[in-house]
């Protein structure tokens, strides 16, 4: 099983997704909370655009080998651009949030593509199964 990665962020400990399927979940959650990425319920009072993109980009680092350098670089670039777009449209009023969504979908597509390729080439995950992770 993949060892958990927890990173300190300010005074909180953030879990870093460690597999493609966990990154896929992270992206889905981000889509629900763009452009501010806060949690109005208060359960996750610390969440904001910085914490969510930190989790995302750190997760790319964890699966970097599986991604390959080219895809890793593309993902990092997309994440930086997406974050800037969301930050520039916190109230979802000037259209940049919609542009940010497109980039999140591009990120998702790249992750899914990497999963597919691992399945096609029959590469196994940490439990010895061909799952794309």
């Amino acid at each position: 099983m993949t060892k958990l990665t927890v990173r300190q962020y300010g005074n909180i400990k953030l879990y870093i997704p460690g597999t493609f399927s966990e990154i896929y979940d992270q992206i889905g959650s981000m889509m629900l909370h763009a452009p501010q990425f806060t949690d109005p319920s208060g359960y996750f009072h610390y969440r904001n655009i910085d914490t969510e993109f930190f989790q995302l980009t750190e997760s790319f680092g964890i699966v970097r080998k599986k991604l390959g350098e080219e895809r890793y670089a593309a993902l990092m670039d997309l994440a930086v651009r997406a974050k800037a777009l969301f930050a520039a449209d916190p109230d979802d009023t000037n259209g940049k949030t919609d542009e940010g969504y497109k980039l999140l979908y591009e990120i998702e597509d790249l992750i899914q593509e990497a999963r597919r390729k691992r399945v096609e080439s029959k590469q196994t995950d940490d439990e010895g199964r061909v799952t794309g992770d």
């Binding site: 966990e22 979940d25 959650s29 629900l32 909370h33 763009a34 359960y43 009072h45």
Partner: protein, 273 residues
């Protein structure tokens, strides 16, 4: 026991007795066993649908200063309980909680801490099971509202159908939240194999080893977050029951906005493996 065939919305009603201070504070402190979460669960036959208790998810009574004070008192008591279990335990306060909602959030947060501490110190997982149900339900409800709003705004991509897209986003949100939640109370599912989020649960009873992925597992409970009603004969649910960890119950969690018996437990039917 309320089951799928019971008249949940049409049964006789009794006037609610006036709640004194004592009963109110008890409402905040309910020690939630699975039997309390799903009344009648203990005696329910395998495969039955046992509905969640109506009052499980929300604190009752009007949001006012009294409620706030009671919530604060309940929080204090839970902190003391945790300290008794683990004198070194330290709590980082949530953000400002000068509102009733803030107090409730803190109370819920502390309940999860208590559940995690009981597991860590005493090996007792039942409270964590109950708190996990509560947590998943709240996150599912919130994601359902948010997902529908985003679908209406055209922001979520629809591949097969809106229903499928909505269900997919809710699943992803809940799983991410659950991982963050477990980590926040020090639960490491890579070392504690009885707690997992979207982990592979193998069935090695046949010639080919197969697996299923419940959205979560806590002890011998499997959790499935879904928009669709599922029963003991749904292949996915049967698959969960067939897993090597032999879940005693499968917990189906659906958005409460769907009404009716939205969330329920399905007890295990003993089958020959």
């Amino acid at each position: 026991m309320r089951t799928a065939s019971s008249t949940r919305n049409f049964g006789p009603t009794r006037p609610t007795p006036p709640m004194g201070r004592g009963s109110n504070i008890r409402a905040f402190e309910k020690p939630m066993t699975l039997e309390q979460v799903f009344p009648g669960l203990r005696d329910a036959p395998g495969g039955a649908i046992v509905a969640v208790a109506d009052d499980f998810f929300d604190f009752t009574g009007p949001a006012n200063e009294t409620q706030m004070a009671l919530a604060a008192l309940a929080s204090q008591r839970i902190k003391e309980q945790i300290k008794q279990l683990d004198p070194k335990w330290h709590y980082d306060e949530l953000g400002p909680n000068q509102t009733v909602e803030g107090q409730y959030n803190k109370l819920n947060d502390l309940r999860f801490h208590l559940a995690a501490t009981r597991l860590r110190v005493k090996g007792d997982i039942e409270l964590l099971q109950a708190e996990t149900i509560r947590f998943i339900q709240r996150r599912t409800d919130a994601a359902y509202i948010q997902g529908r709003a985003l679908l209406r705004a055209g922001k979520l991509k629809v591949r097969l159908s809106e229903q499928e897209a909505l269900g997919n986003f809710i699943d992803r949100e809940v799983r991410k939240d659950l991982r963050d939640r477990f980590i926040s109370v020090g639960i490491d599912w890579s070392t504690n194999r009885s707690i997992r989020v979207n982990g592979r649960e193998y069935d090695s009873s046949g010639t080919d080893r197969t697996y299923r992925r419940p959205d979560a597992r806590v002890g011998r409970l499997a959790f499935d977050v879904t928009l669709t009603r599922k029963t003991a004969i749904t292949p996915q649910v049967r698959g969960f029951f067939g897993a090597d960890f032999q879940p005693l119950r499968v917990i189906i969690i659906r958005p409460s906005q769907l009404g009716g018996i939205y969330t329920y437990a399905i007890p295990r039917t003993e089958t020959k493996r």
